[in-house]
Amino acid sequence: LSDEASRPFAGLSDVSISEDIPVEGDISVPMGSSRRDDEFSTLDEPVKETILRDLRAVGNKFIHVLYPKRSSALLRDWDLWGPLLLCVTLALLLQGGSADSDDQGGPQFAEVFVIIWFGSIIITLNSKLLGGTISFFQSLCVLGYCIMPLTVAMAVCRIVLVGGSGPVSFGVRLVVVTASFGWSTFASTAFLADSQPANRKALVVYPVFLFYFVIGWMVLTFSPAQ
């Protein structure tokens, strides 16, 4: 067995090719993506550089949500720090007041978490089952980062509610929440819908629409403790 393995072409020693048969072909060396060389140098990099690199990547993605345009480089380096941060912020902002008293309508802390993460997972599964080319964690990343407009809207609503909770304040909040809901949905579909075949785009966009609608609803109907 080892003999065979050490001389793989031994059986071909008596094969000869006549000279008028052209022997030609292509040789292609599969080059790994250029990132592999980067990875080699990151094996021994100091920890501070690792931290800074990841922080810069997270900040970059936040900027991309503000100006959504399809960029494949952004999608390739997914990370879930942004969604975690936004989720925690949104859940904390949805906390105050009536949430603690258990009888009014404020969502509990864990509910917000479960809705956001479970909802993202369901949407991702849906888009993968429909034949999407985007990967699981990429989709979670995009959906999570696009919660940012709604988080900003929540902060604005809290500020507006400090001034009072009459119809004027409700009108302002409605406008703000609707605008941010539209922005979130638009930003996420800019990334997600491109990975689907043309006749399935609506099937993928609809759950995303629902997802941000539910979150927007939670933001709009938040009422502080009396």
């Binding site: 690792t50 975690l84 990967s135």
Partner: protein, 248 residues
């Protein structure tokens, strides 16, 4: 300390030889002949037979005292070892003492999730490669395909590998903490505290992800599959790209 005492003067030769072997198992085969004394000098050629019991011979494998100290240290990365365990243990302790931290559920939840996120990041990115020379990550190709790559450093490369003590710290910390969280899962399930259940599920998923990743890396290290031919820098790394569970 070992290098500063005369090699043959105080202890029986056999004991010193065993000590030397135990400490330098790997570098034994790379040491140049003549620099150490095998047990039976009678079989050696004359030029290799070194001094007898009364002569002092100094072994000088590393010119630098610091280098020697680093190589013979029990723990080469004390900060990494500390942080490897710190976040996980602190998260477990916070879970147990959550009633003392705050009456509300929210601050405790945020604290534990934050600690476990930092723990996930530091174990995946820092302590794995420093303590045991393993690494895993997700890579997305130009055509959008997602691959998980598991890497293991070959043990012969470089001096900065983790020692045995560090490897023990790493694996014990990695394995015991998810087991504790699984125990918490059952206690919160049977006491019907559903809010805490969501927290425990999140914790288990974070910890189990690292455990699974490093077990795959370790399997790569034992199989020894070389990296793709396109990479010329990977001679000291063993790799295996993969898709997990068929969808991730």
């Amino acid at each position: 300390m070992f290098y500063s005492t005369p090699f043959f003067s105080c202890k029986p030769r056999f004991l010193m030889w065993m000590q030397f072997l135990r400490r330098h198992r790997r570098s034994y085969f790379t040491a140049t002949p003549g620099l150490f004394q095998p047990y039976n000098t009678a079989t050696l050629p004359p030029y290799m037979a070194m001094a007898d019991d009364t002569e002092d011979v100094e072994l000088d494998f590393a010119a630098d005292e610091q280098e020697r100290a680093r190589r013979s240290a029990v723990i080469r990365h004390p900060l990494a070892s500390f942080f490897h365990l710190f976040f996980r243990v602190f998260a477990i302790v916070s879970y147990l003492l959550c009633d003392w931290i705050s009456e509300n559920f929210a601050p405790c939840f945020v604290l534990i999730i934050t600690l476990l996120s930092f723990d996930f990041w530091s174990v995946k990115n820092v302590t794995g490669r420093l303590l045991v020379g393993l690494r895993w990550w997700n890579q997305i190709d130009d055509d959008g395909k997602s691959l998980w790559v598991f890497e293991a450093k070959k043990s012969s490369k470089g001096n900065n590998n983790g020692t045995d003590a560090e490897a023990r710290i790493f694996w014990l910390g990695l394995i015991i903490c998810p087991i504790i969280w699984i125990f918490f899962f059952f206690t919160s399930l049977f006491s019907l505290k559903i809010k805490w259940l969501s927290l425990v599920v999140a914790s288990i998923s974070l910890q189990a992800a690292n455990l699974y990743g490093y077990l795959r890396c370790k399997a790569v290290g034992e199989d020894g599959q070389p990296p793709d031919t396109g990479s010329f820098t990977g001679q000291h790394l063993l790799q295996r790209p993969d898709i997990i569970f068929g969808i991730l």
